[in-house]
Symmetry: C2
Subunit: 346 residues, 2 copies
DNA sequence: TTGAAAGCGCTAACAC
DNA sequence: GTGTTAGCGCTTTCAA
């Protein structure tokens, strides 16, 4: 169906090598010849075969992109970032979703390798064994939004969640909160660890005791998030603030508070990590830690395209987060900011 | 780097054709030989080259997917649907975002064709000329979420928006509303036409006059949506209900109502098309027309994979929508549902 | 500056 | 059942 290089060559009255030179941009071709070739090609609707080219050059090109779930706002933004960067690089992208399942991820990686992608950008599902052989085989791999400690040599682009959680925790404590619940979001691609550690560390730094009962974790599903939030808020009416470590638990906290007739922020303050669209639509709008999935994707793609040799020093690239203060947090009932400040001082 | 079929053949002590038979699944191979080949392949970490295969078979495989924006909830769901289906088909997918720009779309299509994809699924940006040559060249094309009237022969998978809007309009009128504002969402991939037409038709069918001043449209950006909603609600305090034809205008309506100190649903009822995550988190939760992007993507992918010959009769596949009633709509002030019913009868 | 020719790794006839 | 062989469309020496 499609025209081949041979037909174009014949039509233009030149050798196939010349046509190849015109299209691959390499090698010298006289302007006149180039014109003739281009005209013939246009006439025949010729389109160089990517398959043949990559068979010959042994690099197929294209970037593989693996995210847990394109439906998650952060994942979608990450994909958009990669797409934007790939576009400027002239690369195409192969996308697949791992659902955070290592077995599925392994399959996807396998297929992408067979496709001959020039590099893979992934939010890794967790199993380092999936990646070790890939890296060893020389395929460029860049981790995004999550790194695997077992593979410190693989470049990674992350958001600085620890600092985001620290800011948020300090903000809450500064408002006067002492009994702050931490709703962790573990699961695929998102072990609560970093965020939870940051929460604990900040509290300790501020000399606020960590109430273990108030640190809970949910799997990344609505049900689990809801159960965790409900269990927490029902059992402990003395909680004055909830720090949700992800938008799913944030959503759950808002819903549970409403169910329990807890007014936000009069009865409980709520804040979360991930500034998703609805944070602003909530009533009151939710204070959140914003992190840019687009930036993560864009930088990951840039890194993947860069020559491995001229890459930045090892260690993940940490992108900043931003604390967006809206109306969902207030000093705990019966205390003003001032009193809170005082009580912190003593 | 990677092992070739030749090396595997040598290692297994067989001819390359045998190895090919084992991996392509075609042709008879004795169990013993197959085992030997598989073992050798595993040993060498052999992976058939997709490039060589598609060069030979002249069908590269893979599906191209073009959406306006992966960041839109509906678009993301559509992508997820395609991914799910492609996975079960054993196909990979090439993704790109057109931003609803025909020129960009044309570029993307061009690249995908060069890649030799087996079919393209697209939410078309609007220019039929992009698609005509593709279709003529014999490439499988399936439109999703939007069809091009100029190309009636291209299979399409759509949601039945007209019926969704009709249900919603009837619901609102049934509640007693007469001055219903329609906030259209035009723009990339989403001409308000179908929804607006359904709105008008339903109103007319119900003998409710259409107030032209209350039918406005916004471009699919937050600013434009907000401006449209604000202009409408400020100019016409007598509006009792807002039907937002998309989640962006829905969001704008909620925000503007809050800004204007309009209580929902006491002062205005609000409902929208597209049941996005925040609809349930709003206070009150928003009544919405749900349509499944996942289903659209899944079916589009199935259609693209099906033999063109054994495809269903022409005409788009219409997927159902569902009216999800929540708390954001109520009879207009000073009227009960009963009165409203009465007034409708007269 | 251009053309001829040798494959890249694989599949599909066709022989055995 | 299995091996041999002829390309698929392209890039890339090497000569001319």
């Amino acid at each position: 169906m499609a025209a081949t290089i041979k037909q174009v060559a014949a039509a233009a009255g030149v050798g196939i090598a010349t046509v190849s030179r015109v299209f691959s941009g390499a090698g010298p071709v006289s302007a006149a010849t180039r014109e003739r070739v281009l005209a013939a090609a246009r006439e025949l609707d010729y389109r160089p075969s990517a398959a043949a080219r990559s068979l010959k050059t042994r690099r197929a090109g294209g970037l593989g992109l693996i995210v847990p779930d394109v439906t998650e706002p952060f994942g979608a933004a990450l994909v958009a970032g990669v797409l934007d960067c790939a576009r400027s690089l002239g690369e195409h992208v192969l996308l697949d979703a791992s659902q955070g399942d290592p077995a599925r991820e392994a399959e996807i990686v396998e297929r992408m390798r067979a496709q001959g992608v020039g590099g893979i950008i992934a939010v890794p599902a967790g199993d380092p064994e999936t990646w070790r052989p890939v890296v060893r085989a020389g395929t460029t791999v860049v981790f995004a939004d999550r790194a695997l400690p077992e593979l410190p040599r693989v470049p990674a682009v992350l958001t600085d969640d620890a600092s985001g959680v620290r800011s948020l925790t300090e903000y809450l404590v500064g408002l006067g909160h002492r009994r702050i619940a931490f709703l962790g979001a573990t699961g695929p691609g998102r072990p609560a660890d970093a965020r939870e550690r940051a929460f604990r560390a900040t509290l300790e730094g501020l000399r606020v005791p960590v109430d273990e009962e108030l640190v809970v974790a949910a799997r990344p599903e609505r049900d689990s998030a809801y159960a965790a939030a409900a269990g927490l808020l029902q059992a402990r009416a003395d909680v004055t603030a909830v720090l949700a470590a992800g938008h799913l638990v944030g959503e759950a906290a808002v819903l549970v508070a409403r169910e329990l007739d807890l007014r936000v922020p009069a009865d409980v303050s709520i804040a979360m990590v991930d500034d998703v669209a609805w944070a602003e639509l909530c009533d009151p709008p939710l204070t959140a830690v914003a992190r840019s999935g687009h930036a993560v994707g864009y930088h990951a793609c840039e890194t993947a395209a860069r020559e491995p040799s001229r890459r930045a020093a090892p260690g993940p690239l940490l992108l900043p987060t931003e604390l967006v203060i809206r109306g969902s947090c207030r000093p705990p009932r019966g205390r003003s900011v001032r009193e809170a400040g005082t009580s912190r001082a003593r």
